[in-house]
């Protein structure tokens, strides 16, 4: 498959004089060179990329399989690598595995490992390491989050290294897209004697120090098999506050930040920084429980979907940074049907008609939201109140604390919101639309749909799988309980000194591929 396109930065050769922290602030201001002396620290002579990450706290971890916070994801991506990986436009390409084969019923998957891959401690990657990593991800007591639906189906005893560079995993239940699952950033390969206290991986950066909630310092992995990092070291700083994060970027104390407040996207351009806008497959749906009145009536759900003015929600709740959704998820899946089915628009007359037919002409319903839902959540809930009023539907918004929203009542709310990040269609459906799904907010349990998903999971022929998945999407489009009004665009910020940053669909800040960034002296 094709090599990274984002890696080829045509920037000038790296200068070693890259000043740190305050030094960068001075460079940006073009003043008082005397201050640069104050930035001297043990690593001051090397070139360093400093990333300001949103959030983080004492929960921060270096565990490859359980990243929780944004800085965790940035760290995991720098230290570890999965067997396969996603390109900027969200298709899979080889990473640690150069080739993948499976048997006819997709129960045996064979991975051929790349030659010349070494861990941070210099040891070569072997199939035994992959075996140990899969065992760690599939640990029945504590499976990795993105592996939890597959973990119980892995036959660990029968999964083994065929030789030094070949690993075969055996599944008890067929899974036709295991390769796509194993391209997830949080399913990194670690050495067989891995201990999170000495976090060793094959990634472009090597662990140096880590202080939860504050900072992590990594240095370049000189034995990296792919594009070696262009900077000597990487510093990731946690920021609890948006204002502090943006100030740090503008003052030149950090080079890149994730999750720039969208309303600042144009303003920071005048102050020496750029906004990076990337399309993502992330969504913040309204969730209607299909097993309870009034939403148990399909017509009421359809009416609610017609009440929503999607573009207005994007303009106001997402500051314009989003694309209209069509009540289906997985927009980057090659089998995505949302663009082929008729786009739903606000249609108050039709909504009223459907409500009348269902006997819910003056519908009153409580919508539960929370700041924990993330950007655009509470704002879109408030806007929905006005939009619903046009159709005579009275929506009352209840704003719950994060611990209440995701407390005992989570997945029980009649009408609420939630958040999801970029995924392909099948893993997403398995996570949220089956009776057995861990996060089935809408209590969707449609026999025909379940049958289609189960078949698709086993189906190894891409064309036949496409038919199954698209039939499943038609069912969700007509009868589902999700109102997917938009896919958000990710807005990040980076300094003028940084080049090599390209929009990526998978994750913020060019999917945190810091090794491809160059930091110039100004």
């Amino acid at each position: 498959m094709s090599a990274h396109t984002g890696g080829r930065s045509a920037g000038p050769p790296l200068t070693r004089r890259q000043a740190l922290q305050l030094g960068a602030a001075v460079a940006l201001g073009g003043a008082t060179a005397s201050l640069a002396g104050c930035s001297a620290s043990s690593d001051a002579i090397t070139s360093q990329l400093i990333h300001g990450a949103t959030g983080g706290g004492l929960k921060d971890t270096l565990d490859p399989h359980f990243p929780v916070t944004m800085p965790d994801i940035a760290r995991v991506r720098s230290l570890y690598e999965p067997l396969l990986r996603f390109t900027p436009d969200y298709t899979i390409e080889p990473s640690l595995a150069t080739a993948v084969e499976h048997n006819a019923d997709a129960t045996e998957w064979t991975f051929h490992l790349r030659e010349g891959v070494t861990f941070h401690d210099g040891r070569p990657l072997t199939a035994d390491d992959v075996k140990a990593s899969i065992e760690r991800m599939a640990d029945p007591k504590n499976p990795a989050a993105l592996f939890s639906d597959i973990a119980p189906t892995v036959d660990l005893a029968a999964s083994k290294a065929l030789d030094d560079k070949t690993y075969r995993i055996k599944l008890k239940v067929p899974h036709s897209i295991l390769d796509q699952v194993l391209a997830s950033y949080s399913l990194g390969v670690v050495p067989r004697d891995f201990d999170v206290k000495h976090p060793i991986g094959t990634g472009p950066f090597r662990y140096e120090s880590f202080l939860p909630g504050q900072r992590s310092h990594f240095v370049r992995h000189d034995g990296y098999w792919d594009h070696k990092a262009k900077v000597d070291s990487l510093l990731i700083l946690d920021f609890g506050d948006d204002a502090a994060k943006v100030s740090a970027l503008l003052a030149g104390q950090v080079h890149t930040i994730d999750n720039l407040p969208p309303y600042l996207a144009s303003a920071i351009g005048q102050q020496g920084a750029h906004a990076l806008v990337s399309e993502t497959g992330g969504w913040v749906p309204f969730t209607m429980r299909v097993d309870q009145k009034p939403f148990s009536d399909k017509r009421v759900r359809q009416a609610m979907r017609l009440i929503v003015d999607r573009q207005q929600l994007i303009d106001q709740a997402l500051s314009g940074f989003g694309r209209v959704g069509n009540d289906l998820y997985g927009p980057f899946d090659p089998d995505y049907l949302g663009t082929e089915l008729p786009q739903r628009h606000q249609d108050i007359a039709q909504a009223k008609h459907l409500l009348k037919a269902a006997g819910h002409e003056d519908l009153q319903v409580e919508l539960v939201t929370s700041p924990a839902v993330g950007s655009g959540g509470v704002e879109s809930a408030n806007l929905l109140v006005q939009q619903a009023a046009k159709a005579g539907v009275q929506v009352r918004v209840t704003k719950a604390d994060p611990s209440v929203f995701y407390g005992p009542q989570y997945l029980q709310w009649l009408f609420a919101q939630d958040f999801w990040s970029t995924r392909l269609y099948l893993p997403q459906a398995i996570a949220c639309a089956l009776k057995t799904s861990p996060y089935n907010e809408t209590h969707f349990d449609h026999p025909q749909f379940t049958e289609l998903i189960t078949s698709a999971r086993r189906e190894t022929d891409p064309a036949r799988r496409r038919t199954l998945l698209q039939d499943a999407q038609r069912i969700e489009y007509d009868e589902g309980g999700l109102i997917i009004w938009a896919f958000a665009n990710q807005v990040d910020g980076y300094s003028r000194q940084v080049s090599g940053v390209v929009p990526c669909r998978e994750q913020p800040v060019s999917s945190y591929r810091f090794h491809l960034f160059t930091v110039k002296d100004q």
């Binding site: 008082t32 201050l35 690593d43 939860p212 502090a244 104390q253 995701y406 005992p408």
Partner: protein, 350 residues
């Protein structure tokens, strides 16, 4: 104005108490010991009551395991069991309190649930950073407020006084994070680029090793506290300067400068100490917004983070630290007040 100070209004400063001190040195020492022991006893009692409140309050916040795991609660029963065991959640409330308190007495603050690291290790550096910030702010705040108050009182009604009054009133009305944002855009990002906008510390470094990074947080807090303190001190000073004994001193022909320094000022020291102590205690844990704004690694933001994570051992430890600071600062302030009030001083010995 405190009553102790007004009672103590002695017309002239006299060296007599000092002479008496040498004669009664031993009994004075004993009186002080008794006073300090009594206050320490009260302090310990207060801390114990605080520990009860902190413990019950954190226990009443609902199921901590759900707060910790959030969306993952339903899907990871193993982790639920693990956390329940680590927090002794299956024991009764008094038993849990005893486990916690006895640990506390041994200096064991417990282990963070969020990341399994001992709490003392997690908060040690942050407590030191916050303490240093408060110390620097105090060293600037007290002389600056007192200076402004004297300047204003001295020129009461004049343009200097008016200017000070207007400026301090205006600044007192601005929330501290607004001041902080304005300072950052003035000195770091938009106008000039001379100071770092946020605190960036190398691994293992403490805030005092990056003095430039301290300037903006300290300036923000000084601007937040000084106007309030200066206004209170000015009104105390003005009140004293209107009193009969000061008038008498003036009638004796003592120059106004001396009247202020030797007659009026000593009586404003007690309120200075008391008001400063309250401000200090607030500065220790109450400056979350300022810590966030400058990414300052202090305990205010750590406490908010811990509450958000449902990390109860950290919440409890920090609440106890903040309570202890309140108690110690007030104890010191009371001792200083007695030392600075001749009448109270002699009463102690008598």
């Amino acid at each position: 104005m405190s009553t102790a100070a007004s009672h103590a209004a002695t017309p002239a400063p006299s060296p007599e108490p000092d002479r008496r001190d040498t004669a009664q040195g031993r009994s004075a020492g004993r009186a002080w010991t008794r006073w300090i022991l009594k206050r320490l006893g009260l302090a310990v009692l207060t801390l114990w009551v605080v520990s009860l409140i902190v413990f019950v309050a954190t226990s009443a916040l609902g199921d901590p395991v759900r707060a910790i795991l959030g969306k993952d609660f339903a899907v990871s029963p193993e982790r639920v069991a693990q956390i329940r065991a680590a927090m002794h959640l299956d024991e009764s409330l008094p038993q849990r309190y005893w486990i916690w308190l006895s640990g506390l007495l041994r200096g064991d603050l417990g282990t963070s649930i969020a990341n399994g690291v001992p709490v003392s290790e997690l908060i040690g550096a942050k407590v030191a950073n916050s303490a240093f910030l408060v110390l620097v702010v105090t060293l600037i705040m007290v002389p600056l407020s007192l200076g402004l108050a004297i300047l204003a009182a001295r020129h009461r009604g004049g343009p200097i006084d008016n200017a000070i009054q207007v400026v301090t009133l205006a600044l007192a009305g601005v929330p501290e994070f607004v001041t902080g944002i304005l300072l950052v855009s003035l000195l770091s990002t938009s106008v000039f680029h001379i100071l770092p906008a946020v605190t960036v510390l190398p691994a293992g470094a403490m805030v005092w090793q990056r003095p430039l990074g301290l300037i903006l947080p300290v300036a923000t807090l000084v601007i937040a506290v000084v106007p309030y303190l200066a206004r209170i001190l000015r009104s105390t000073l003005v009140e004293t300067m209107d009193s009969d004994y000061v008038e008498l001193a003036r009638l004796k022909g003592i120059p106004e400068r001396l009247v202020l320094r030797r007659h009026a000022l000593p009586n404003t020291l007690v309120p200075t100490v008391q008001v400063s102590a309250l401000q200090l205690a607030w500065l220790v844990g109450g400056v979350v917004l300022v810590e966030y704004l400058f990414n300052f690694p202090g305990i205010g933001a750590a406490l908010v983070d811990a509450v958000r994570n449902g990390d109860f051992p950290v919440v409890q430890a920090l609440a106890m630290v903040i309570a202890a600071v309140y108690i110690v600062v007030n104890l010191v302030a009371d001792a200083l007040s007695i030392l600075l009030t001749p009448r109270a001083r002699t009463e102690m010995v008598a």
